[in-house]
Symmetry: C2
Subunit: 809 residues, 2 copies
């Protein structure tokens, strides 16, 4: 029975359709096996000699025939219904499949003219697969039509939903492997359907592919009872259609029927949402395809079951070069697809196959959504200077910098209401970005109650308590040519370390693929950061994402530490306009001192690093000490230390250097954002002690600067895993990055202070002790700490603010 | 109706029971609110003046009354049935709850005598919460009875299952918050019930707590339809019991009935498994508790709904110090629990409350399973030397080192059949640990088919394709006093970066808590590593877990890079015997050269770093160059380079230093495993060039050694994000860590070679070119590369092997 309760037709495909779709599948399977095994002799027109078999057999056969089967059927539906469809293959190890399909569709030869659609091209197609100088074994960036590598598993659905948002006519067919389905990110992402608006967004059609085995184990979803599986999928909010078996003829009919049923349901859902204006959350259809692992492969090898077993996972047998028996199995297997019927004399696909796929941009391998850069439009941007915080004197005021950023994001949102979204794991308001909710609502298409705050089906603030899902959505959204912004608690962004890795690697690889057009950068705002997790304590303190990020190629990553609101605005504007980067911005959400007026902020951020003359006392001469800082709290503590030191030692020559763009610390040979040694030496001197207060783990500064002339004199303070639930200032004290400890560091390292100023050192030690005692009684920081503001403003002996960054490089 | 189809009794609790259980709950709630808000005046015997309210209000009220409610009911069941129960609170932000319960049970005062069970102790209990010098706001290691911090969300169920394995009589009550339920790790971990053996293992009783809201958003599971939720939970393999409402009297009855029903079902399941020997997988019972967020808190504040809304998430109102109206709300709220009925004149809980909790080790706050170190027994260990690989000459042979380790693990498994398990995300065999399956099977309690390989309900090899679940299981298993071993693909261990963080922080904190006894170390084997992911390509290449790990406290982390099988055995033996560390072992699974016989391996591993005399040509004098290496592939490439250099430059004095224990590179002031400068200088000299071939990202070596005398002469090669699907040797070439590139590095850095040996340099460049051309034709490495073995064995001019590490420090 179909969804409307009418009896299903016994067959959906007429005999000719069936034969042709089966032929297409055979062709794709043939080409897949050929890629895994053959060096040449692609059409088997000569005997299969040992040396024709690849010496290293790499690739994953097991999932591939299923991927090809689905591809063939999607093509029929695309042609019949003129669908705009992309294909996300969760089991991305099945790389040979989409490569085969792209070649059959002609896209591969259009993209890589050397791999022509003939026997010569087929030989090259085979040879290049998993071969030195060739293409990777997974659905990599090199594969036309892909936005999803699948090398690491778990992100198929979140990527698919990311692609579907704001693409009203797009259907994203997303195959979920039953291995992948065991991962956390995948398990969480099923609930993405509560965040899709059937009127405004496209559709994700999940296809759960139960082929039963992983590398060596069965899969959980294949081995639970049918009522459990059905309950689970309905619990996820879907109406499952089951296609199960191993007889190709019957399976073709069943899958065609299921797919037609799903597409009819989808069309009806969208009609109801758009024409009837219904508000109900639909139970979206999905397909469960249960087919043998390694389907159509050898049933047995060496007396052991292969098709339908875990032995099909990678290469079903590996001695085809050395073992005549294995080679015979291989040849029989290849010939079982009857290549002579599939390819003409020239080696091109025969007419019946060439007319079974859509043309132009309707081909899934050529759909522009899968090369998002070609669709990318620049964001309409408000003038970020309009949100400037007035800074009467540097080092004064109390502004929540991220709240100011929220106002700019609100207007970015309003001006780009179909190409920009913000993402957060239930932290948008906590991170002070509330203003965004003036321009839109939170996306929500499940039940609501009166207490709810700004939920709407067509909201554009994406919040689910899953960093994985947020990240996956955003990646899918960016890869299909849109823009986004992800705010996250700093410590918990480590949850997506591995997803970041994969995205950064994708960008790096895509940079070397000419036809992949640049996409919008992935922008992280890390807030609720280590220095203000005093209330949540030790478990919420980890500034190490920066360390993780900078292991990736310098060409694709950027790290910014704006110390106040105006620098944050300037940095955010830059990041939102950028392409093909991962930008990490670290900024606090608590009220904090402001330092730079907007024009100074722009100059400072453009340079990325610079001397703050207004805070320095070196008068342009060689300083006694350089006080460097990166990050908002370290900047404040550094300035408070400088304030103290200038009062006590009026003739001490202090130079204050602030770092916004962390990569400036590396040299320009290592990093395109790096500073040449000459400029670095001009800032940090070649011999003065440098007291560097850094936001994160202190050794990272050493890692970035170990080649610099003055590195031996760098003394870095940062977070060294000391923390608990205590006051904000005490967090600094515990890690010796507080103003008093920094001042002590200066006294200890400037020779002329070291011996003469023991009494000041003692006084600072007493201040630390006094603070400790105070907080244990009062539970909060002393007013002299919390109320501190910079005292060396212009009229009190500082320099005019307009000079502030003149000596920046 | 109950599970047997009989009508349920209208009430389970008689009036007195009801009153007492309600009184206990009121007491726990009172103590929870007191902790969040009050500095002193704990019993409200004096007026509530502003200064009695804490200046910084920190803590999470929203989830706490639910946690307390469940605690009260579990206590009744424990007493009635004499249960052995621990309580895992997923919403660990509700820290005040279990602290209150532990105080009521007397455990808190036993553990912390200063927090006595009287008015003085209560005042201290309140004051210390989230207060400088006090305790964190979450269920931290400081909390008696906890194995689960819950500061980061998502691990409640996997921790609970880890605790239940091999604890046949233990019931682990695990509260899953509906926010947490949205995370990937939690969503994946529901399927853990397919890995539990009702006969041998304990029981996890999940309690899904739907209180409807997160920080600012509703929760997905609260807002889907009942049929969906029910399907989902049954799909996870559970039989849900629903308790829903807000009337305490009715809710007490309903919860008591549900809990009794679950415990009866659990008893029956276990009886059937143990007595009837049934093999079916049970549908385990669970409870869904739907109750208002911030239940029993103020209904409204400032005209806005608080109880039953997201406004209850943290502190329901924050101006209780400054605002008289808020303070009045606070006082009314506290008095609504009628503290005068709950605590006697001295401030101790009244008799009715003191008799409502179990005694001794039956108290959940005092259950020894939650302080696993007290139950820990040392592993029975085989003699690791028995698995030694014979090494006739160093640098020869071809052994899969991890396969040898598998044989030792097999025997560890056999000798510790109730306290040791191995964990892997479907990679046990891929990682060559197959031998373990000779001693046990894979754990599996779902459907099986004939093709399955070694699955059994009571297997001890834990494989699910979720790094998160594996890690969570292992953590729970270790924290309850057992031992384990986790093997994982190196690149994908980043999936658990954040979980590692939390565990390392737990260990670090526990080190400072005297009553927490040391637990077994968490042992990782990272294999399928970056240098042999040539077949899976770029997405599978990331050696950065080491970088991530060493950001944590040196006291709790260790990193080992054994270069061959015997060193791997020695390291693994050491790690398995160790306590309170996270040990990271990186070792390849491919056939590789062997270097050290067992006795040399033991000496070398004990020292952690040492000169390999047999490979060196410095004859104990000052070398021209130090060739350092860490990791199996870098070691091989280094030795091949040395082999070449010694042939070409017979009088070049080369010193080969191999590093097994990476932390030896740091100085002993920074790291307890660090080498004193004197010893470091003796190894690395104070002026010779050092060519260091390192397994991972090269800058990590700089980070570890930047303070060393000779650091400026360190030239480090490692993985620099260059990779694709290519040959193993080409992976080295791409990253310039191959033998030819290393030899070029030597020529470039040894002054007397630099000018005189341009021809050798050209020859090496030609070799690189020749290799590149060869692989593009043949698809595999040249035989001279793959067949290379060390040629300077004793009889060919090397030194006797027994000297091999004499000069190690």
């Amino acid at each position: 029975m179909n969804a409307q309760g009418q009896p299903e037709p016994a067959t959906v495909l007429d005999p000719q359709q069936l034969e042709r779709i089966h032929a297409w599948w055979r062709a794709a399977n043939y080409l897949s096996v050929g890629q895994i095994y053959l060096m040449d002799n692609p059409l088997l027109r000569e005997p299969l000699l040992p040396e024709r078999v690849k010496p290293r057999l790499l690739g994953h056969w097991g999932t591939t025939p299923g991927l090809n089967f689905i591809y063939a059927h999607l093509n029929r539906a695309i042609m019949e219904r003129d669908l705009d469809t992309i294909y996300v293959m969760g089991p991305g190890h099945g790389g040979p499949g989409p490569v085969a399909a792209a070649w059959l569709e002609g896209t591969y030869s259009e993209t890589y003219p050397n791999i022509s659609q003939d026997a010569v091209g087929m030989e090259r197609l085979f040879r290049q697969f998993s071969f030195p100088g060739g293409i990777p074994s997974h659905v990599a960036p090199e594969t036309p039509g892909s936005i999803h590598e699948g090398g690491e598993l778990g992100y198929a659905l979140s990527h698919a939903y990311g692609a579907a948002f704001d693409n009203p006519e797009l259907i994203v067919a997303a195959v979920v492997g039953d291995g992948e389905a065991e991962t956390g990110p995948l398990a969480a992402s099923w609930h993405s359907n509560k965040f899709i608006d059937p009127a405004r967004d496209g559709t994700v059609l999940p296809i759960l592919h139960l082929n039963g085995f992983k590398i060596a184990n069965p899969t959980v979803l294949d081995r639970i009872d049918r009522d459990e599986l059905d309950g689970l999928l309905r619990g996820y909010g879907h109406t499952p259609h089951y296609v199960e078996g191993d007889d190709p003829g019957q399976m073709h009919q069943d899958f065609a029927r299921a797919l037609d049923g799903c597409l009819d349901q989808i069309a009806e859902i969208k009609r109801r949402a758009r024409e009837d204006g219904t508000n109900e959350r639909p139970r979206w259809p999905m397909i469960v395809l249960r087919s043998p692992k390694g389907w159509t492969g050898p049933a047995e090898v060496d007396g052991k079951k292969v098709e339908g077993s875990w032995r099909s996972h990678q290469v079903p047998f590996s001695a085809a070069r050395e073992d005549d028996g294995h080679r015979e199995v291989l040849e029989d297997w290849l010939r079982s697809y009857r290549p002579e019927e599939l390819f003409d004399e020239s080696g091109a696909p025969v007419e019946a196959i060439r007319t079974l796929h859509p043309t132009g941009a309707r081909r899934m391998s050529a759909n522009p959504h899968a090369n998002g850069g070609v669709l990318l439009r620049a964001l309409r941007m408000p003038e970020f200077r309009d949100y400037a915080v007035a800074v009467a004197e540097p080092g004064t005021g109390a502004v929540e910098s991220t709240r100011v950023l929220g106002e700019m994001l609100r207007d970015v949102m309003a001006m780009n209401s179909d190409t920009f979204r913000v993402f957060a794991p239930d932290e948008n308001n906590s991170n002070r970005l509330d203003a965004v909710l003036e321009a839109t609502d939170r996306t929500w298409n499940a039940r609501t109650v009166p207490e709810d705050d700004r939920l709407a089906r067509d909201g554009r603030v994406m919040e689910i308590l899953s960093e994985h899902t947020c990240q996956g959505w955003l990646e899918g959204y960016l890869l299909t040519g849109r823009h986004g912004f992800f705010s996250c608690y700093e410590a918990f962004v480590h949850i997506v370390d591995s997803m970041f890795n994969q995205h950064a690697k994708w960008l790096d690889t895509a940079n070397r693929i000419e036809w992949r057009r640049p996409i919008a950068s992935l922008n992280y705002l890390l807030t609720s950061h280590v220095w203000r997790q005093d209330h949540n304590g030790f478990s919420h303190q980890d500034p190490g994402f920066i360390d993780h990020v900078i292991n990736k190629k310098p060409e694709v990553i950027r790290v910014y530490l704006p110390p106040d609101a105006n620098t944050l605005l300037s940095v955010a504007d830059h990041c939102l306009r950028s392409r093909q980067y991962v930008n990490v911005i670290v900024a606090g959400k608590q009220p904090q001192l402001q330092y730079l007026d907007m024009e100074s902020a722009v100059v400072h951020c453009t340079k990325g690093i610079g001397i703050w003359d207004w805070a320095s006392s070196d008068a342009g001469a060689e300083p006694d000490v350089v006080m460097a800082c990166a990050g908002d709290v370290p900047t404040m503590e550094t300035l408070a230390a400088v304030d103290f030191l200038r009062t006590r030692f009026p003739d001490l020559r202090i130079r204050v250097v602030n770092v916004v763009d962390l990569m400036r610390l590396q040299d320009d040979a290592e990093n395109p954002h790096g500073l040449p040694d000459r400029d670095f030496d001009a800032l940090f001197t070649t011999g003065a002690p440098v007291i560097f207060a850094y936001h994160g783990y202190p050794w990272l500064i050493h890692r970035l600067t170990y080649r610099r002339t003055n590195h031996d004199n760098f003394h870095v303070r940062g977070y060294k895993e000391e923390g608990t639930t205590t006051t904000p200032f005490d967090m600094c004290v515990l890690n010796q990055i507080d103003r008093f400890s920094l001042a002590i560091d200066v006294i200890d390292r400037v020779p002329r202070l070291r011996e003469s100023s023991a009494h000041v050192r003692e006084e600072l030690k007493d201040k630390l002790l006094e603070h400790r005692q105070y907080i244990r009684v009062h539970g909060e920081d002393m007013p002299e700490i919390t109320d501190w503001q910079w005292s060396w403003a212009p009229d009190r002996g500082g320099r005019p603010q307009s000079d502030s960054v003149d000596r920046s490089v």
